[in-house]
């Protein structure tokens, strides 16, 4: 199998997130988007490069980014595609 592009799982903990918009503004891959009322949404998980910078900069420890297991990756592809 050719070396597939790695996939990442971006988890946003809504109970901790305060919708500050930092992830939206700074993700280099534009994975996040602001919703109607300004809420942060994981809009393009499939574009995530796993750089972790959103995790480091989220002021509310609300983000986790992990390499997706193959099955999750497949699922994500299905969803994303």
């Amino acid at each position: 199998m050719a070396k597939a592009k790695k996939r990442f799982r971006v988890t946003l903990n809504r109970a901790w997130c305060k919708d500050c918009g930092i992830c939206v503004a700074f993700c280099p891959a534009k994975v996040f988007e602001a919703g109607e009322r300004g809420e942060a949404l994981v809009a393009r998980e499939e574009d995530c490069t796993g750089c972790q910078s959103c995790v480091l900069r989220c002021p509310d420890l609300a983000l986790e980014v992990e390499e997706a297991t193959p099955s999750q990756a497949a699922e994500a592809v299905t969803h994303g595609g």
Binding site: A15, W16, K18, D19, C20, G21, I22, V24, A25, F26, S53, L56, R57, C58, P59, D60, L61, A62
Partner: protein, 280 residues
């Protein structure tokens, strides 16, 4: 342990405002502890009073939430008695450098093996955004509507001049750098200070035209310059910018190392005649 293992999840979500930088510092600190493999038992967090001073509510190590400005004095007592502990003093700029300024300079001079982590949000967040000893001259705050007539400290320079073993600065934007500086500081046997320029969008930001959390982050991104590059900037270019990274420190034996010599001498020596003071 992983970073999250140091976090008291029951206490979440954080008390801090939307976009506040304190959570970023907290997270970096937990990662640094994890990287160093510190156990909960051997780690003591001392806080003062202020927004960042509430960090101990979220950290699953030993801790003491003390009085405003006195975290370093308390930390000094802890470390002096048990030099084997890793002692962290987490403070706001007001806590550390305004009311706590005396303990800061003396902790540095004494070279006590404590790591001071200062969330410098350029004002007193907890009490409603008054100016502090780090608020830049001219900046607005709830007690400087006409612009701050005082100048702010360069905290790293101050602590360095007082004798700190290590002084370093990061911003909440530079979270990875922050983590490594914390690792370096905690590993330093003498007194270390890590100043973190932090966002208070609700007060400092609002009073000074940057109420948006992301905009504050961008402000840090633009104004911070790695120390080596900063040194080469022309004076005009330095305006509104500041250096980040390790910024100095002096290599002297830590207090506990020296005090061990005192204990040895005392154990060898005898008593002496005490001379009474004549006054006051």
């Amino acid at each position: 342990m992983k970073a999250r293992d140091y976090l008291i999840e029951e206490a979440m979500p954080l008390f801090w405002c939307r976009g506040c930088g304190n959570g970023i510092i907290l997270h970096a600190l937990l990662r640094a502890l994890a990287r160093l493999g510190k156990s909960r038992e051997e780690t003591v967090v001392v806080t003062g009073i202020g927004c960042f001073g509430k960090a101990d509510d979220y950290i699953r190590t030993h801790s003491i939430h003390g009085t405003h400005g006195r975290a370093l004095a308390i930390a000094t007592g802890v470390k002096a008695v048990n030099p084997g502990l890793t002692v962290l003093a987490l403070m706001g700029d007001g806590d550390c450098a305004t009311i706590g300024g005396n303990h800061l300079i003396h902790a540095a001079r004494r070279n006590i093996g404590v790591t001071a982590v200062v969330a410098n949000n350029l004002n007193y967040g907890m009490t409603g955004g008054q100016f502090s000893a780090t608020t830049p001259q001219g900046a607005r705050s709830s007690t400087s509507s006409f612009g701050n007539p005082e100048s702010g400290f360069d905290l790293c320079r101050l602590a360095g001049a007082a004798g700190a073993a290590l002084v370093a600065r990061a911003t909440v934007y530079h979270a990875a750098l922050l983590e490594s500086l914390l690792v370096e500081a905690i590993s330093c046997p003498g007194f270390s200070l890590v100043e973190v320029m932090s966002s208070c969008p609700v007060y400092y930001g609002r009073y000074n035209g940057i109420p948006d959390p992301a905009a504050m982050m961008r402000w840090w991104q633009e104004s911070a310059v790695p120390a080596s590059r900063y040194a080469e900037l022309a004076p005009e270019e330095k305006q509104g910018r500041f250096p980040i990274g390790r910024l100095g420190g002096s290599d002297r034996p830590a207090f506990s190392e020296r005090y061990a010599r005192v204990q040895e001498a005392a154990q060898a020596g005898a008593g002496r005649w005490i001379q009474a003071g004549t006054d006051r």
